[in-house]
């Protein structure tokens, strides 16, 4: 029983890591610009596919950085040409726009890379289990947790210690004042968006190595990302982090005791949070 | 029995103390002006009275009843009507529709699917009366969002009046207005006070308006009550002069 729980706890950690990575990108974009990026799941898939294209040329490790970067560039361009138009408008428009983009990107991936799944080759060094007792802890899965940890730590360090990061944090709080201080808010938003997409692309590469690539792969991460944000608290990145970990672990633990409920438990948690503390665990009051 | 009594009311935003143990009493039928330099906490105090947010400490008594724990909507039902510094109206609807919604809400018809002819007449009567009092009869079918600033303010006052409030709270009613508009709004408030006996609390920056209208003046500075008295007393108070009335009225 002990090993079983440990096994599932570890799985929960991995799952939570993915949720966190996907949700943080989504959260960054939502917090600064009030846009729900419906296409986030598709950027995740795009990241994985771009890694697929790059790996034969540059190998896995460079691709791990280049693919998300390339995805971020695409995101940057999309933000500069399309998304900027709907800032400040009614939320309907951002939803519709990113929704439409989601369709377009998904179908484009389908068209370019086909409907069937594709494998993403990871270095052999990462696939070996570390010990026979803890067979489930293979290096790749540890690697995922490690990379996510590095990415998240990097993100928070960036926000805390760099000038750009401070501007983004200030912008989340009060974009109008930031603009009045003479800071180029357009660029800020574009870069922030690109950052969020970078995280999405990274999630795609990691997920691709774990479960393979297909045009819908981002969908399974998109909704839990929403839940992570709702549970963790709207407007709070730390909240999103906690929310993602919480629901990942909750889903995994539940699968030990009552397997069919493990998919539903995250929504139960969401419903409870909405009832008891509508702003989320770490949400700002009045964010609603 | 006073209309409104604030007892040691405070509001903290984290470590920022916006309102610091303010106590004051407004009698029925009185017109009280609240003045003070920018950042003195006037609008925050207003927000506390009207229920925009709850006080951190202290008690608020409206006609003897404690209301500090009630929501804004509940306080409106008890008889408070309020206007805002930045006019809050229904911009895409006409003046008539704006005031009608207020009248229907006040009469408790907000949930109704249909009004009988008696109820309809009462509502229509209230609407017509309030539009007339605020001088908007000629503009009753105009879309509020398209009206001049002063008329929008008047429409907002008409909406507040349609609630038939016992206490009217006006937050900087002359803000952003030219001479003529200020004159008209001041006249309106004066009529409401003298002819209709409304109890009014006014936040104002324009000293001519304040001294023209107020029965009593309360001065706030840095969240605390600095002075409280008749216009003559306030004008003569050296502390007030030092803090605020640098220029003569």
């Amino acid at each position: 029983m002990g090993t079983l729980i440990l096994f599932n706890l570890f799985n929960g950690l991995i799952l939570g890591a993915f949720y966190v990575l996907a949700a943080l990108g989504l959260s960054m974009i939502l917090n600064l610009t009030n846009v729900i990026n419906f296409a986030h799941g598709n950027f995740i898939a795009l990241g994985g596919y771009l890694a697929f294209v790059l790996i034969p040329f540059v190998g896995f490790w460079p691709a791990l950085v280049l693919a998300p970067l390339l995805t971020a560039v695409i995101g940057f361009v999309i933000e500069k040409t399309m998304i900027y138009r709907i800032y400040g408008r009614d939320p309907i428009y951002s939803l519709l726009l990113t929704f439409g983009l989601a369709f377009m990107i998904e179908d484009a991936c389908r068209y370019i890379w086909g409907v069937n799944g594709l494998p993403l080759t990871t270095p052999a060094s990462l696939s070996t289990p570390l010990s026979s007792e803890f067979f489930f802890v293979n290096a790749y899965r540890l690697f995922i947790v490690g990379i996510v940890f590095v990415a998240v730590a990097g993100l928070f360090a960036f926000l805390r210690f760099t000038r750009m990061g401070m501007r983004i944090r200030a912008g989340i709080f009060d974009l109008e004042t930031v603009s009045a201080l003479g800071i180029n808010v357009k660029l800020l938003r574009s870069l922030n968006f690109a950052f969020g997409i970078f995280l999405a692309g990274l999630a795609g590469v990691l997920a691709g190595g774990q479960i393979g690539l297909n045009p819908n792969m981002g969908d399974t991460l998109l909704l839990p990302s929403f839940v992570a944000i709702i549970v963790g608290g709207m407007g709070s990145l730390v909240g999103t982090l906690l929310g993602g970990l919480l629901i990942g672990v909750a889903a995994a633990i539940t699968s030990v005791f009552y397997a069919p409920a493990s998919d539903v438990v995250i929504y139960v948690i969401m419903a409870i949070v909405l009832l008891v503390r509508p702003r989320g665990l770490l949400g700002e009051e009045g964010m609603q | 029995m006073s209309m409104l009594e604030a007892r040691n009311v405070s509001k903290h935003f984290g470590s920022l103390v916006a309102v610091r143990e303010v106590s004051l009493t407004v009698a029925k039928g009185e017109l009280r002006a609240i003045i003070g330099p920018n950042g003195a906490g006037k609008t925050t105090f207003f927000n506390l009275i009207t229920g925009f947010f709850p006080p951190t400490a202290g008690e608020i008594l409206f006609d003897g009843e404690p209301v500090a724990r009630l929501t804004a909507a509940e306080r409106v039902k008890r008889g408070m009507g309020r206007t805002f510094q930045i006019t809050e109206v229904f911009p895409q609807l006409t003046v008539h529709e704006n005031v009608r919604i207020a009248a229907e809400a006040a009469a408790g018809y907000g949930l109704r699917l249909w009004l009988g002819s008696a109820a309809s007449k009462i509502v229509a009567g209230t609407v017509e009366e309030m539009i007339e009092v605020t001088g908007l009869t000629a503009k009753t079918e105009r879309v509020v969002g398209e009206l001049a600033h002063g008329d929008q303010r008047a429409a907002e006052i008409a909406m507040a009046l349609a609630l038939r409030p016992r206490l009217l709270l006006l937050d900087e009613p002359t803000a952003g207005m030219g001479e003529q508009e200020t004159y008209e709004i001041t006249g309106l408030i004066r009529r409401l006070h003298r002819d209709k006996s409304y109890t009014i609390i006014l936040v104002e920056h324009d000293m001519r308006v304040v001294f023209h209208l107020a029965d009593r003046i309360s001065v706030l500075e840095q969240g605390a009550l600095l002075a409280d008295g008749t216009p003559a007393e306030i004008a003569a108070d050296p502390a007030v002069q030092a803090a605020y009335l640098g220029k003569a009225a």
Binding site: I36, Y93, G100, Y111, Y267, L275, Q288 | F90, E146
Partner: protein, 327 residues
């Protein structure tokens, strides 16, 4: 209806309003006559009316109360399943199927609405999406009851017996169209009546300026819940009709794609207009029908429609028309 739906444009004079209402109904009633002439067919007309009703129901909340829901397909889909359950498992009765669908969707909407009525803006939209996906997931996974991916199949809409005569909506497509139109008339009529009432004006107040509404004594959360619930009941009716139209119930009716399509229809037609969403539905259904016939990548083009609407038609087709009139 027009008095409540103006933008900052000139109001339509009374006579023109009646003319417009009459025109809409003439077009709808005569559809089986003119549809074949433009290459359409009665089935398509029924589909337009069903989705038009769905879009109008969504717009009751969106355009007239000011809250964006991107998860309304949930209550539409529950209407589809409610009707399907009755026809497949209980009895061959169309009225019962309709009622079951309306109740299932409406009551669910009431419950979910209560959970989310404290949210606003983009966060409100977010939670509507989350809950909709929950229902989709249930329909997909609980296959013993819902038939899983394939859904409920093997039933047909039942002829309606009125004692002395029978409406064979099962075999007669044109008769079915008029049945759909009748239900549409009742539900849309109810919505229209509500919007003209004091209650409707309160919803409008919430759309225009929630803060002002609260400071007029309106308990905003409660009213938003009410609007959400009413729109859920209405959209469930559309869903039930959809089940009758298709003769099956499947998870695709609960897909977030449908939610998005309904929003696009409303925006395309004009969210501040009562009939706008019907127009939007007509355009969208026809275009989608055409696209899926000529290309396998029609999803891409549907997405493109969304993007184009947002970038170039934010006020909807009717909105463009209104701007010109005011100028």
């Amino acid at each position: 209806m027009s008095a409540l739906t103006r933008r900052t444009a000139l109001p339509l004079p009374r006579e023109l309003r009646w003319l417009r209402l009459a025109a809409v109904w003439v077009v709808l009633i005569a559809a089986p006559l003119w549809m074949p002439l433009v290459g359409g067919y009665t089935d398509l007309a029924a589909r337009i009316v069903v989705f038009g009703l769905a879009a109008m129901s969504l717009n009751f909340l969106m355009g007239f109360t000011g809250q964006v829901s991107f998860g309304h397909a949930a209550y539409f889909g529950l209407g589809v399943y409610g009707a399907g359950f009755v026809l497949l498992y209980f009895t061959h009765s169309t009225p019962l199927a309709l009622i079951a669908g309306i109740l299932l969707g409406g009551v669910s909407g009431a419950i979910i609405g209560a959970l989310i009525s404290r949210q606003r803006g983009i966060y409100f939209a977010l939670v509507t999406i989350a809950f909709q996906e929950v229902f989709y997931y249930i329909a997909y996974k609980w296959d013993s009851v819902t038939g899983g991916y394939d859904g409920l199949r093997g039933f047909q809409r039942a002829p309606i017996h009125f004692g002395l005569f029978t409406l064979d909506i099962q075999r007669n497509d044109i008769l079915f169209y008029y049945f759909v139109l009748s239900v549409f008339a009742i539900v849309a009529g109810a919505m229209g009546l509500i919007l003209r009432s004091p209650l409707g004006r309160t919803f409008l107040a919430l759309r225009e300026n929630e803060r002002r509404a609260r400071f007029l004594g309106v308990p905003a959360d409660r009213y938003i819940w009410l609007s959400f619930t009413i729109s859920a009941f209405c959209i469930a009716a559309a869903g039930a009709l959809n089940a009758l139209l298709n003769n099956f119930s499947d998870p695709s009716s609960l897909d977030v794609t449908i939610s998005g399509e309904l929003v696009v229809m409303a925006v395309l037609g004009g969210i501040h207009s009562f009939w706008g969403p019907l127009l939007g539905a007509a355009v969208f259904v026809v275009v989608q029908n055409y696209l899926s016939g000529i290309t396998i990548n029609w999803l891409f083009f549907v997405g493109l429609i969304f993007v184009v609407v947002v970038m170039f038609f934010p006020r909807g087709l009717l909105g463009v028309f209104r701007q010109r009139r005011a100028a």
